[in-house]
Symmetry: C2
Subunit: 299 residues, 2 copies
């Protein structure tokens, strides 16, 4: 079954103490759609400017991503620039040029409206609502977010939580939302806001799911070196929904495996700048790391 | 087979935003020996003053701990006082009165010298060496430490690492020792310093083992509330060596289960002040949480 991914499509200029990488393919929808495409047919809805490089369109196409919902508008593509410190944990934004993204309104092509699996990747909650208004009884809706929306669009986000099945956020965002230091206490509080499933991402410490069937402690793949963590969270949630769509059937039965596949794709994402490593990955390599994680956590 | 535990035996006065608990039974050896006693016959070597409450001796005895190596000296028992902030992660020391601990030299009773499993719980590396000088070809030696010894006794600690099988430290200590932010890179560096097995403890994020058979990602038990984390690391390593001694045979075969049992005992430790909860635990409760952790991590 197919996955609809809506989010940002951007050009990322990423600086680290060791390298500078201008205008890489980035954005939450790009990372999530590529990750999802390893498992299921994937549709991307986003907006880019006339400056968007043709090679990036080809990269989406190489992954079989349906681009009927990718708007190409007069103007410039959303451009984000950030710098990481040596430890790769601290990041600061150098520049944000919204370009055509500033007036983006997601329009779903007719055939996208019946997508059974919908990923509302990180984007303004108002736009996430707007997408949900257009889809017709989806089977499973996942929403991601970022600290910015907790600061400037909390009301929209809280009403969104009543419309989604799974809400994903990272540990600092969960602390901001619930004022709980304890991850498990935070998960319970967020579940009371609406979503049946909640996942808190903890970066290199893995992720925790709270579901009607209880908790799941999901490992992160052991990386000796992180080159660029940008998009790792988007890759996680993209891989997760892609696997759910591929597996079909009961979410409760499949969501643990889905998280581990998400974790595996996120690990590849961290090993190269932007989407460089992710777009070179094969299903075989993904399967190998999935098996490794099973072995690394068995006791 | 029996376990020898050497470390500090102390009175801990612990303040949190909600409560004050004066002169609880504490110290690395107390927590570790009680944890180990759930699995294997355990011998404690330490020192206390004449002020050491008789009820604490009875508590050790209730756990069947062999106290032939507990010196009772003229003077006062080591007294530590600390205060936790609301999030339970930040702790500051209010007071350290070394008392009889200042001149402590561990003397092993004759029958302790043949202990097959030796835990050098957190104590000055010089004293850890002194214990190893007295034991006769132990089967497995574990050493724990703290940031203080990295600061003031690094040379002794580095020579100790060449004499132990398993070295355990927490993530901030591993960063201090190796200057590596990445846990897996840090583990490799520490293994090169001598120990065949290294474990980095990450508190509520669990622990990572590096062994000749590869890594193991060990989960922490999900706690909704931490009352007092003092001694959790000591309980972890105590439970770990206790299980190894009980299981006997190949360490490679048993160490993963041993870590999970350590993690379980540490979770009980966090649920009460000092040893209050740990000393009320039963083997059945431990087994129940062990099974829960297996279920919480399966995919």
């Amino acid at each position: 079954m197919s996955v609809l991914v809506v989010g940002s499509t951007a050009l990322d200029s990423i600086k680290t103490p060791k390298a500078e990488n201008p205008r890489l393919l980035g954005g939450s929808a790009s990372h999530a759609a590529v990750a999802s495409s390893f498992f299921a047919p994937t549709r991307l809805v986003g907006v880019v400017g006339k400056d968007f490089p043709g090679r990036y369109v080809k990269l989406y196409e190489k992954h079989g991503i349906d681009l009927a919902g990718l708007q190409i508008q007069d103007g410039k593509t959303f451009h984000w620039s950030g710098e990481y410190e040596l430890n790769m944990n601290n990041r600061r934004t150098l520049l944000t040029e919204l370009g055509v993204f500033e007036t983006f309104t997601p329009h779903l092509p007719e055939r996208h409206k019946s997508s059974p699996y919908v990923l509302l990747a990180n984007i303004a909650p108002g736009l996430q609502h707007h997408v949900l208004d257009q889809v017709n009884k989806p089977k499973f809706v996942v929403a991601d977010t970022m600290d910015l929306w907790l600061n400037i669009a909390l009301k929209d986000l809280l009403s969104l939580l009543k419309r989604v099945d799974l809400f994903v956020l990272n540990d600092s965002e969960s602390h901001q939302l619930t004022e709980e230091d304890n991850v498990f206490a935070a998960l319970r509080k967020i579940q009371k806001l609406g979503p049946k499933y909640v996942i808190i991402k903890k970066g290199s410490h893995g992720a925790i799911l709270s579901s009607p069937k209880g908790y799941f402690i999901c490992p992160a793949y052991p990386l000796h070196k992180v080159v660029d963590p940008t998009g790792a969270g988007d890759s996680f949630v993209g891989g997760l929904i892609g696997y759910l769509a591929k597996a079909g059937g009961s979410v409760d039965k499949n969501i643990r495996k889905a998280m581990v596949y998400g974790s595996v794709v996120a690990s590849f994402c961290c090993e190269g700048f932007g989407l460089k490593t992710t777009t070179r990955v094969t299903r075989n390599k993904i399967e190998a790391r999935f098996k490794e994680l099973a072995q690394l956590t068995a006791f």
